[in-house]
């Protein structure tokens, strides 16, 4: 079974803090993705990566950065958290030849106060 593990289920941070969200997959997938999910807005792509040290902006990259130092790990970084970044964050992975079949983690619900 494919497993995508997000390090935290719930996080509470203060405005201005630097926040790290970690994601690990165990299926040797080339592609990894970070989405955020908000009521009424659905899932929106923040960043994706197709290889180690490679990253591409998604639809809403502002205020975020990412890091992929190892194939199995993809980190999302909020350099200076703001209240409008309160959301559910979902990590996903896929094989490069089948990007339509994405496996998701359970999500991290982040609250920025």
């Amino acid at each position: 079974d494919v497993k995508v593990t997000q390090s935290s289920r719930y996080l509470v941070k203060r405005t201005g803090e630097k926040v790290f969200l970690e994601c690990v997959q165990d299926m040797d997938h080339e592609n990894m993705f970070w989405y955020r999910q908000d009521p009424g807005l659905g899932l929106r792509l923040i960043y994706f990566s197709y290889d180690v040290k490679m990253k591409e902006k998604g639809d809403i990259p502002e205020g975020y950065s990412v890091s992929r130092e190892k194939k199995e790990r993809f980190s999302l970084i909020l350099e200076s958290a703001s209240t409008n970044q309160t959301s559910m964050y979902l990590c996903a992975s896929s094989r490069q030849e089948a990007k339509n079949i994405q496996y998701f983690g359970a999500g991290t619900r982040l609250s920025v106060l």
Binding site: V4, E30, N31, F33, Y35, G40, L41, G42, L43, R44, L45, F48, S49, Y50, E56, G58, D59, L90, A92, Q96, E97, A98, K99, N100, I101, Q102, Y103, F104, G105, A106, G107
Partner: protein, 113 residues
Amino acid sequence: QKEVEQDPGPLSVPEGAIVSLNCTYSNSAFQYFMWYRQYSRKGPELLMYTYSSGNKEDGRFTAQVDKSSKYISLFIRDSQPSDSATYLCAMCESGGGADGLTFGKGTHLIIQP
């Protein structure tokens, strides 16, 4: 243009009913069409996917794609309380590569026992 439209519901039906969930889209380049199911406080999981137009059946679930109308459907027969979840349609232009999927906002489905 990448917009995907999906009625958010909630859609409430009695157990045993046939459920029809739908999405419309505007980008004629979309070729892969997916349905993901998301239980409360969990990440989405892939239910089914189809390539181009046509039908695909898997147990109680049938996915239909009508590219001429830019309209996709998911039918659930003999619905069960365990089918209660949010159903997300998703689409992309190609199966390979690394860019993300375009999701609908999701339909919240409730199956009443």
